[in-house]
C-alpha cells in the first residue's frame, strides 16, 4: 500500500497519530499512549481498479467474472482500507476499574482500490 505524500493523487494510506496526552485523555487511558488514526484517500483510475485492494477483498471472483465476460463496468472502484488491525486499550472506567479490551479493525494498515 502506498503511503500518501504531498504529491500523490493515487489511492494511498494517510498516516495520522493522535497523542492521548495532547487531548488530555492520558489520565483514563493507561495504554497505549496514542491512536494511529490512518485513513485512505486518493484516486482509483480504471487501470488501477482492483490493485492491490481487490486481491485482498472478497470481490476477486466477481471482478474476474466481469473481466472474463468483458462486461463494461459502470462507475469506478474506490480507495478503501484493505488491511486493518485491532487497537488494544487499557483504560479506567468511572469506578477506576482497569479494563483491557481489543477493539477490532481500528487501525488501517493498508489501502487499495476495490
Amino acid at each position: 500500500s502506498l503511503s500518501c505524500d504531498q504529491n500523490s493523487e493515487v489511492c494511498c494510506r494517510k498516516d495520522y497519530y493522535v497523542d492521548f496526552r495532547d487531548i488530555g485523555w492520558n489520565d483514563w487511558i493507561f495504554k497505549p499512549e496514542g491512536y494511529q488514526i490512518n485513513y485512505c484517500m486518493g484516486e482509483c483510475p480504471v487501470h488501477l481498479a482492483g490493485t492491490p485492494g481487490i486481491a485482498a477483498s472478497f470481490h476477486t471472483t466477481v471482478f474476474n467474472l466481469v473481466k472474463a465476460n468483458n462486461i463494461r463496468t459502470a462507475g469506478r472502484s474506490c480507495c478503501v482500507p484493505t488491511q486493518r488491525r485491532a487497537l488494544s486499550l487499557l483504560y479506567f472506567d468511572p469506578n477506576s476499574n482497569l479494563i483491557k479490551t481489543d477493539i477490532p479493525d481500528m487501525v488501517v494498515d493498508a489501502c487499495g482500490c476495490s
Binding site: 488514526i37 484517500m41 488494544s88 468511572p94 483491557k100
Partner: protein
C-alpha cells in the same frame, strides 16, 4: 487553502492544518468512545495509585495462577468468536470490618459472559492455613476455600468461579467479599497486607460480550 490540491477522492477543498488536526482528533475521540460504548470520556474521581496498577499488571504478566499459564495480559481475539472481550481489574476498598468491596461496571447494553474471576491477595508469611472466601450479604455464600502451606509473604490467586457466576448475571455493581482464615491470627490486618499500600487486593474478571438472547450451552 488556495493553491493546494483538494482531496483527490472527494474533491473536498483542503483544510487548514489546524482544522484538519481538530477534525481528526474529534473523529478519533468519537470512534474510541463509540467502540467502548461510552457516551463521554470517564471522569476518574478516585485514581488508583499507579504503583498498585503496575503491581497488578506485573502479577498478571508473570502468569502466576493463570489457568492457561500464558503468563501475559493476553490479547483477546478468542478463536471461536470475534466478539469483543474484556479483562477487568477491580481494586478493592477495604472496609473497617475487613470486608473487601469492589465497584464493578457492566458495559451498558451488553450482556457479558464471565469466563474467569480471580481474587488476588497479598498474604504475609504464614504457616499452614485455610483461607475461605464468602460473598457477603444477609445470607453469605461460600465461594471457595484454599489450603496454603507455610510460606513467606507473597501474592496468591483464588479462583471464584463458578460460584460467582450468578452474581455477574445480575447487574449488581458492588461486590463485597468476606475472608476467613483458619490457622491465622484472628484479625485480617495481621495476615493480609494492608490495602492502603501497593499491595491492594484486586479482582481480575475475564468476560466476553454475549449476543443478546444468546444461550450458553454446556458442551
Amino acid at each position: 487553502v488556495e493553491g493546494r490540491p483538494g482531496c483527490p477522492s472527494c474533491k473536498m477543498p483542503p483544510l487548514e492544518p489546524n482544522a484538519e488536526k481538530a477534525f481528526l482528533v474529534e473523529v478519533a475521540k468519537q470512534q474510541i468512545l463509540q467502540k467502548l460504548n461510552l457516551k463521554e470520556r470517564p471522569n476518574i474521581t478516585h485514581p488508583v495509585p499507579r504503583v498498585a496498577v503496575t503491581n497488578a499488571l506485573r502479577r498478571l504478566h508473570m502468569g502466576k495462577g493463570r489457568p492457561d499459564g500464558a503468563g501475559r495480559f493476553s490479547s483477546w481475539e478468542s478463536p471461536e468468536t470475534d466478539k469483543q472481550g474484556y479483562e477487568i481489574i477491580s481494586f478493592a476498598e477495604t472496609e473497617p470490618s475487613g470486608l473487601l468491596q469492589f465497584q464493578l461496571t457492566h458495559p451498558k447494553g451488553q450482556d457479558m459472559h464471565v469466563l474467569e474471576a480471580q481474587l488476588w491477595l497479598h498474604l504475609k508469611a504464614h504457616q499452614n492455613i485455610t483461607l475461605q472466601i464468602y460473598l457477603a450479604g444477609d445470607r453469605r455464600v461460600a465461594l471457595g476455600e484454599q489450603k496454603l502451606g507455610s510460606k513467606g509473604s507473597g501474592w496468591h490467586p483464588f479462583s471464584l468461579m463458578p460460584a460467582l457466576q450468578s452474581f455477574f448475571e445480575h447487574e449488581e455493581k458492588t461486590l463485597r467479599l468476606e475472608l476467613e482464615c483458619q490457622g491465622c491470627p484472628s484479625s485480617a490486618a495481621v495476615w493480609l497486607t494492608s490495602a492502603g499500600s501497593s499491595y491492594q487486593p484486586f479482582l481480575v474478571v475475564k468476560a466476553k460480550v454475549q449476543e443478546p438472547g444468546h444461550q450458553v450451552t454446556k458442551r
